[in-house]
């Protein structure tokens, strides 16, 4: 059967969360995505949040009843892509000890999935896809403190949990002490780590999807 059924391309949905195009966090993302492309049949879509028209959550809680958001904006086209992705990658810089506000707006708009899952008790993804989705969080920070990412990680976990990507299935690569645009190019290990991560995530997905 396995030989007859055509294997679908692995779908990767990547968010470049930084307002600065081509900066450190997006460079890290591009390294990961380039490595993923080399792993065979991988369909990658990269969304730059600064151009994606995703507004903050209004906190109206209407999604707890309607099972959809009342706002009509860039999330309308992202919604189905988020559900269909086998791997969702979020790249965002740390500003003022937290994830940049553009990425936080996207995370908060996942409230519609949270309502679907926990309030309406409806499936966010078909049951057979649970455990077959992976998340990647990439981040960069100008500060050299080790704890500079601590404020961002809990929100990132929420982001993935509500779309059925478990804690154990989130991969992290967070690089501190890179501030000015391009600083990451001089980092001793970031590029190699990013490439290894891209490779490992696709191999892991290939394994899980063929189970």
């Amino acid at each position: 059967m396995g030989q007859i059924a055509s294997i679908m391309a692995i779908k990767v949905l990547a968010f470049a969360g930084s307002p600065r195009r081509g900066g450190n966090s997006e460079t890290l993302l591009d390294w990961v995505l380039d490595a993923m492309k080399k792993e065979g049949d991988v369909e990658i879509e990269k969304i730059a949040l600064t151009e994606a028209d995703v507004h903050p959550c209004k906190g109206c809680n209407a999604c707890e009843v309607l099972n959809k958001c009342v706002q009509r904006d860039g999330m309308d086209i992202l919604h189905d892509k988020i559900i269909e992705a086998d791997c969702m990658v979020l790249a965002a810089p740390i500003y003022c000890m937290g994830i940049c506000s553009q990425a936080k707006a996207l995370i908060d708009r996942f409230q519609v999935f949270r309502s679907r899952k926990f309030v309406l008790k409806l499936p966010v993804v078909p049951p057979e896809r649970k455990g077959k989705r992976l998340g990647v969080f990439l981040s960069t920070a100008g500060q050299d403190w080790d704890h500079v990412f601590n404020g961002a990680v809990p929100s990132v976990k929420c982001f993935y949990h509500v779309v059925e990507i478990r804690d154990a299935d989130i991969h992290y690569l967070m690089i501190n002490n890179v501030d000015e645009k391009g600083a990451i190019l001089n980092h001793p290990s970031a590029k190699a780590d990013a490439e290894r991560l891209g490779h490992d995530v696709i191999r892991e997905l290939q394994g899980r999807l063929s189970e």
Binding site: P19, P56, C96, M97, C100, K104, Q111, A152
Partner: protein, 198 residues
């Protein structure tokens, strides 16, 4: 001396749990004779920080919107209460958007070194964080603190206190919470007294 207190509501939801808790704090401050004002971020027009780092050279933000005048006003206050509900384990995008825009003040302090707050200034300027969360977890506010700490540090305010209440879903809102509103009112009174005593 006159004490001026500003409350900044970062909730997109008007008169919800967080803003009600902020109101109690401001009422307490007013009872103690402080001048109070409240800013509702969702009514203002400001964009998120673009990360262009121009301010690292000029000390001025290139965006001409409501954020720089608000920071001028914030810097003239004696006490700032920053309020946000917890969404997805963090502060709202509205409040984070404002905090990120303080980058030009950070640049003036740490890059250009044209802005400096002596310790006596910091001690006389008090920052309070006000928050509510639906979840019952004790750690639900933890990821918000670093950004609030960084913000107060940037604007030269001492991080004086938190007024936080979790488990809103259980209490059916802040008005059902046994102690939070009284605590907020007390802390509003106390911070004004303390600033006056300095």
């Amino acid at each position: 001396m006159d004490v001026n207190v500003m409350g900044i509501s970062g909730s997109p939801h008007r008169h919800g749990n967080t803003e009600t808790l902020l109101d109690a704090f401001l009422d307490g401050a007013a009872e103690e004779g402080a001048g109070i004002e409240k800013v509702i971020l969702k009514k203002l027009d400001y964009s998120p920080c673009r990360g262009c780092n121009t301010c690292h050279k000029t000390g001025v933000c290139i965006m001409e919107d409501d954020a720089p005048p608000l920071f001028d006003r914030i810097l003239s206050m004696d006490c700032i209460a920053v309020a946000s509900p917890i969404y997805s384990m963090g502060i709202t995008a509205e409040l984070k958007g404002l905090i990120d825009r303080a980058q030009y003040l950070w640049a003036k302090k740490f890059v250009l070194k044209t802005l400096y707050f002596p310790n006596e200034h910091i001690q006389r300027h008090k920052g309070v964080f006000i928050s509510t969360a639906g979840l019952s977890w004790d750690n639900v506010f933890d990821a918000a603190f670093p950004a609030i700490t960084a913000f107060f540090n940037t604007i030269g305010f001492e991080y004086y206190d938190n007024i936080i209440a979790n488990d809103m879903d259980k209490y059916n809102g802040i008005k059902g919470h046994p102690t939070a509103l009284d605590e907020a009112r007390d802390k509003g009174r106390r911070v004004v007294k303390e600033i006056r005593s300095l």
